[in-house]
Symmetry: C2
Subunit: 684 residues, 2 copies
């Protein structure tokens, strides 16, 4: 890898202290790392690190921590699985789960783990295929080429290989990431919810913290634990204050390279809209959970997800209304504009991508209510309608050649569709009805009762009646029914009188039309413009700027370090003793019984949680924090409140990653959970 | 009254079309009215109009419509009363209420109606009392003088006279408003919720509309219907398109004269915070209402209030993120700054009030979480704690001389305290527990578990335990207990072991300290600066600028007129036929039985609702819309979606007031409700 010049994006700012960044493994800031830490990872170190890192396809990170497929990640990353495996009788979510033998390890339905094997630059092929195209032609050509590349990469082994096109720098560079796909993932260990999420939502994104937010999974291949030669080992001593620590994980999404117009759309329209909806849903779920213990169990992981999303969006919004942040964004944009304008050929080459993006924002805002209510994710909060959309679309898409399909139904993507469609997940009819009724009311609210689509949907049936007719009438809760419809293809879909299928058949043309408009009039415009912006930025600064997060593997360097909160220093470490001091008799500060019992045995001075300056974001959950030797010295599970603005800008003064200290993990496995067999495996 | 030069606040804006305004009756834009409509109200017209207008002290407007005390207002303005009078057996809220005789008219607990009798300028007295003072000394002196003036005005007749100091132009002018107080208010007629709020929240702030949002109350004096010689009559023909119509009502609050820094605080901090909390509460109440019919009844009016508040805040936020609005605000501010700077003596006289206000914003934002959670309105959503605060504070305040008390406990204010404290209102323990638990959790969330106040409150008991202990243990639900504690004064409070009183005793010092800081460090700074801004503005423009709304009587002129919505014309009228077309079989579009039955008898072409260009805001609900003859030609109940930005700016292009057409009112009373006795009284 070539050494690169270091010129940090925000270095010129008087107020924001930029630094770390989320670097791809093929473009690390090695000079900076050498200068700061006297450490430069060599290729062997990097290859080992890459193959020891794991990605949970559902949206988390992890790492291999034994040669027999053991994966370390967060408790909150496996909550969906634990929830699905739980029942009224076996409440693993709240009681915890520990497999004492391999036979007791339980399959996590629909969970997929990926290990990155290779990165290839395919920018030239994609650019060639889309040369000179705009609008729908551009989107189609791009999708077709990406499907072709992914399909060639997967080859005959779709079951075990996954290939993703990663669009870096808003499409300035396309990389092909080839992964080994592990789709037989089993639960090995999960602590009680009260231990994994001690302090609950009130403590979330706050520090000091005392969370054992860890879990262990195991990947299987051919029914046996997979061999994972490359793996990290845990060093219970952890790292010292000020020591270099690195995260290796999969930050999901950042918006650091967006234009000011795009940031304004987020600030003034989309973030607020999302927050309003999430807060209302939170109130609904809070009350539903308060009705009885069973409801609380049913909604527990959904409520936690909503609450987590709220804090994260609030943090982002706070960054965008901070004048320092927007001023800096404006300054950087003006600087790039000036660079482009300074040379006539350059100005000719790049044109005015900023104005093109700004114009697209108007379209995006006007389309948002219908697009968001009818097509985009979270449209109808209903498992039945979610399955129905996959079945209806999947049938239609599979009749087309691979290159002409929607990206999520290409051959390379179908294994994921199968995994989620055929997962055996529990269904709670009352809960489903409530969520669906609510989302139908929100549809009506957002589009108004005078909207044609709303009138068609709700002319005869009220939201509550329509929800009841779907939930009571649909048979899609049965995996066999879903399988038959999937395998029956278009004919089976056409013939179905399942109410969820009937509704989705009716909605699909409208929904597809909205998607097509959004792609043609907004996304392709933004993409085309962003490509030129990225090229202009490369010409200005080379690749000394890291790309926005894309849920692909990134390394962020940093050190263990506290920060100053309104003038008061915050220590980087907490200790076991603090957990017992913070505990009250009630949730979310109620200790799990196992921890009450183990109190006398535990080392009160053992470190529990810690903060470091690494640059992380949602998706990094479960990332290993490793030292220069490649040992695990922490398990990332959160960021502090200031880290939330990290969507738009990293500020080293107070942006902190929060991790579980390895000492706490080992103390807990040994003394709280008596998991000696796992301790042994981790130390091998 | 002297004629005044017309120079509208925003006339220079290229994009916003300003106009109407909310004018005090002693400073009408008579020249403009003459020019636009050829109509200039004379003193007799104004005196009659003033004494025919009514204010519902709880936050609405109304008008006297018979000589025997009949008051016309909105259904939604009496929902609290109707709700309180309702029970499982007599569900007046959903079934409607009609008193066929005077004896059947039911007292609305705690409802107070005011009739304005006189306006006096007291600016000089207040200014003299506060001359040269700042901070706490300023607030104390101001409160003392205002209490003194009000007290003199009320004299010996506190039961029947109410006197309020009205701060116009952010304190640039102080007027004393003397009202006749009617505290025996009885319910005469209220339609079914399904008729009064047809279309519910989805249609709220939208148009076309079909709401019979009307009700009739009657004021009593000495146990008999009060004589109200001055009153309006209803003209069932209404007004023609383009005809002059005027509202006479009590707009609650606008922020049109705030500085840019204050608007930014609203945009970036306070409005979003309020919305987040309201949305969450809405979800909670939605689910609570969905549990069963009784819960739906219990929470109905609270849910409606929250939903209404949400739309209104969203509309305000939309205006503040509209660059046109903020650019215009910046322009106007720069213009005034330039006017002040243009003259050395002027610059010396006014100083830099903008910077002072801007500095106070920082303090306000930092104080907001604690102030909002511990002291300000809506702190704990609990009837018990609300009563307890009034009792604890009231006892302490009444030991002080009148001039040294908090304004809400001065002699002039005590009748209101009594009315609300001793009102017989129903109490639903489960509902109270849920609301209180939720608000305690929000307290913890907003201040974090590390906050000293939170730790003290919740160290031993969880939010749910604390809520249960208050609701189950407090005896304050009993009016007699509240009365005894109030009359027992400080000794009774000190001796009480009622858990709500105990808690409030404990909290009160902290809460008072926060209030004191907010008053000293924020409000007095803003007030002092705003006074100078107002004076500078008077020097620049005279009183050709109307003051912000202050829930005092205002006249707004306008005409019946539709508008253009995304290029499509919206007609100003709807008709009875449209109601039946819009109806579905389910709420909120389900017709009341009475309307289904009356369908054949009603004139299908009778006008139902209408829009006009009058400038209104929350508080105007229930305002009469009158023509030049002083006849009622409409009953204001809403504004369209664009009217919501009216908090900050009036835009004539699309800001519309929505009213019930008099034809619909008379058709309904005659043919749907068979209220011939009321029709007769209204026509006398």
């Amino acid at each position: 890898m070539r050494p690169i010049a270091i010129a940090l994006l925000l270095a010129a700012s008087p107020a924001l202290h930029a630094a770390p960044g989320m670097w791809t493994l093929d473009n690390l800031p090695k000079e900076e790392m050498t200068r700061l830490y006297g450490f430069e990872p060599d290729q062997a170190w990097l290859d080992h690190a890459m193959r020891s890192a794991a990605r949970l396809a559902g949206g988390c990170s992890g790492s291999f921590v034994s040669a027999e497929g053991l994966v370390l990640t967060n408790h909150h990353c496996v909550m969906g699985c634990v929830s699905n495996l739980s029942s009224k009788e076996n409440d693993y979510l709240n009681k915890g789960f520990l497999a004492n033998t391999r036979e007791e390890e339980k399959v996590c339905p629909g969970t997929e783990i990926n290990r990155l094997e290779a990165i290839t630059d395919v920018t030239a092929r994609v650019r060639e295929a889309t040369f000179g195209l705009t609008g729908k032609a551009y989107i189609d050509a791009k999708n077709a080429m990406e499907a072709k590349i992914a399909s060639e990469c997967v080859g005959e082994d779709a079951a075990n290989t996954r290939c993703d096109i990663v669009n870096l720098y808003q499409g300035g560079i396309q990389h092909l990431y080839r992964y080994t796909r592990f789709s037989d993932v089993r639960l090995v260990f999960a602590p009680e919810y009260a231990a994994g999420f001690f302090g609950g939502d009130p403590d979330n994104f706050n520090f000091p913290r005392y969370n054992l937010d860890m879990s262990l999974l195991r990947v299987y291949a051919n029914g046996k634990p997979a061999q994972t030669k490359d793996h990290f080992t845990i060093n219970p001593k952890g790292a010292a204050e000020g020591e270099l620590v690195m995260t290796l994980g999969h930050p999901g999404s950042t918006q650091r390279l967006l234009t000011v117009a795009q940031l304004e759309t987020q600030r003034d329209a989309s973030l607020a809209q999302r927050l309003f909806s999430s807060y209302e849903l939170r109130g609904l779920l809070w009350r539903f959970s308060g009705e009885n213990a069973e409801n609380a169990r049913i909604a527990q992981s959904a409520l936690m997800g909503v609450e987590n999303g709220i804090k994260s969006s609030v943090g982002r919004l706070q960054a965008l209304v901070d004048p320092l942040v927007m001023d800096e964004k404006r300054r950087a944009e003006e600087e790039l504009k000036a660079f482009v304008a300074a040379d006539a050929a350059r100005a000719e080459r790049y044109g005015d991508p900023w104005s093109e993006i700004e114009a697209a924002q108007v379209v995006a805002r006007n389309l948002a209510p219908e697009y968001g209510s009818i097509e985009a994710g979270g449209t109808f909060m209903s498992q039945h309608l979610g399955w129905a959309r996959t079945l209806v679309r999947g049938a239609a898409e599979r009749t087309k050649p691979n290159e002409e399909r929607l990206p999520e139904y290409t051959d390379a993507a179908l294994p994921r569709v199968n995994a989620s469609l055929f997962a055996q997940t529990p269904l709670y009819p009352e809960y489903e009805k409530i969520k669906l009724q609510w989302s139908l009311e929100k549809l009506r609210e957002r589009l108004t009762a005078d909207n044609a689509f709303v009138r068609e949907m709700l002319a005869i049936q009220s939201p509550s009646q329509l929800a009841a007719s779907i939930v009571e009438g649909s048979k899609l809760g049965d995996v066999a029914v879903r399988k038959a419809l999937w395998e029956g293809g278009q004919a089976a879909i056409d013939a179905s009188d399942d109410p969820a299928i009937v509704l989705m058949r009716r909605i699909d043309p409208t929904a597809r039309a909205l998607r097509s408009r959004m792609e043609t009039e907004v996304e392709s415009v933004e993409r085309r413009a962003a490509e030129r912006l990225a090229q202009a930025r490369f010409e200005q600064k080379g690749t000394s700027v890291y790309p926005d997060a894309t849920f692909s593997l990134r390394l962020s360097h940093g050190v263990i370090r506290g920060w100053e909160e309104r003038g008061n220093p915050v220590s980087p470490f907490t200790q076991v003793a603090g957990l017992y001091q913070r505990a009250t008799g009630y949730a979310p500060y109620k200790l799990a019984d196992s921890w009450l019992k183990a109190k006398g045995k535990l080392d009160a001075t053992a470190r529990f949680n810690q903060v470091s300056t690494n640059d992380i974001i949602g998706g990094n959950s479960g990332s290993p924090l490793i030292n220069a030797k490649g040992e695990v010295v922490g398990l990332i599970f959160d960021g502090n409140i200031h880290s939330l603005g990290g969507s738009y800008v990293y500020d080293e003064r107070n942006n902190r990653a929060v991790s579980v200290h390895p000492a706490a993990m080992m103390e807990a496995l040994k003394k709280v959970y008596g998991a000696q067999h796992l301790v042994k495996e981790l130390q091998r």
